[in-house]
Symmetry: D2
């Protein structure tokens, strides 16, 4: 599964002494961008085609605080892809212990000239790459669940 590594910065803490919860949204974007790089579909290439993929919705469940000095590992997986809708799931773990600090999800559509499009029709090659990546994510998820059941 794709992982994005991120050091928590001093400027990301708040007066409670922990990472401010708004930063997780930024880390998720960074992890998503790195995931797209990993499947050879860099976000810059998508934008170069005049296609935007805005965030339509997001949710985060905060489980353990993180702070300056911590490194987090963010697992990214496509959890839905229809050519029109894209959903991405995130598991944020403390690198030192593997403990889950947060789980999260984002929903996206595709826009061209300000209108929602089907990527399948608008850019078949881009669609093929995302569809393949989605299938790989599903297979990895299936395998991970199988491993858990066995153990």
């Amino acid at each position: 599964m794709f992982q994005y590594e991120r050091k928590i910065q001093y400027h990301e803490t708040d007066k409670m002494g922990i990472s401010h919860h708004s930063n997780y949204v930024k880390w998720m974007e960074e992890a998503r961008v790195a995931f797209l790089d990993s499947i050879n579909l860099p976000f810059q290439a998508i934008e170069a085609c005049g296609i935007a993929s805005p965030v339509m919705g997001l949710s985060i469940a905060y489980k353990k605080p993180t702070t300056f000095g911590d490194t987090v590992l963010i697992e990214v997986a496509m959890t839905k892809y229809t050519g029109v809708q894209l959903e991405v799931g995130y598991t944020i773990r403390l690198a030192s212990t593997g403990i889950v600090a947060a789980t999260a999800a984002t929903k996206h559509c595709f826009l061209q000239n300000g209108r929602v499009i089907s990527l399948q029709r608008a850019d078949p090659e881009m669609h093929r790459i995302l569809d393949l990546a989605f299938k790989r994510c599903c297979a990895e998820q299936h395998e991970a669940e199988g491993t858990k059941e066995e153990s």
Copy 2:
């Protein structure tokens, strides 16, 4: 219903030309802080008692983009309060048109010395204020729904 007014700043935009979606989490915090001020329970007073109220979860549904020059009105309401759990709902509207730009929710608990507490037991006066505010929010919500049904 309590409303928090917020101008969108230039530094909150991104290269898509719209407010970056991570800023909504900050606006929600600002609106929550202003709501607590409005019920005479400023966040500073809560912290002065050694009580923290961290965000346990959040969700946002983005409906219309906002950008520099826009002013948003954020309606804040307590949607759940048990003395142990607190949930807050937000409706973010463009001030110029009243159109809903986003709806959102946050979940909170109360911590003292790093442990989850019942506010009802730990600080009855604070509990009384929040409980009263919650009942008012429920009544306002009920009234708003009644008005809709009548019309």
Copy 3:
């Protein structure tokens, strides 16, 4: 002298318990935008003419910390304007005491189609407004210094 009022937000604090120093740069931008509104030259109008006014340089001297719950008053004044170069000065005071928390300055040029331009030639009306505002700032500064000397 033009003043911009700003509440310090919880999300602007860091683990030292004070406003993180990077936020001052954002407040300065907000104050600059509000100043331009006050002279009837909103930043949106400048951008609508295809003119950008990027920050070429900045400096900040931090004197007293600020934190969540504080309100700051930011005095903004044009300190140089030649039609080609613009310099802006800022004095950030704690609203409660008037104590100076920081002083700062920014330098700007004007760009059109990515090239440095003389605003005087490119947009005489915009130039006239800025030149008038600059002269007013100089007069106010002069007066303020006169008052100090007398006392």
Copy 4:
């Protein structure tokens, strides 16, 4: 010379399409923290001794814009260290071309229990590490200038 590598993130851009100028202050902090790690004086160790090293002043000269997709290399060097005062210089280069995007500087003091201290007296070991690092920075600077003169 110590270098900190940093990818520019999407959330750091603004509607001009470039990295918002406030982010440079955050990058400088990240580079400073990484520099301290590199001399075996992690910021966490300083804070663990009850010593803070707040930013007293900063200046930035922006030369070329940077944006999403760019990687910057930030050279960090101590430019002054007296045991009481610390000054740090930064050169921010585009990794792809080596072109200087910005130069910058920060000034720091040392605080313990909210009072300015001499690190030399308060923590001789910490002072020794910083003093050694400062001398190495001076030597590297000297060498770099020598190389330039020869060529």
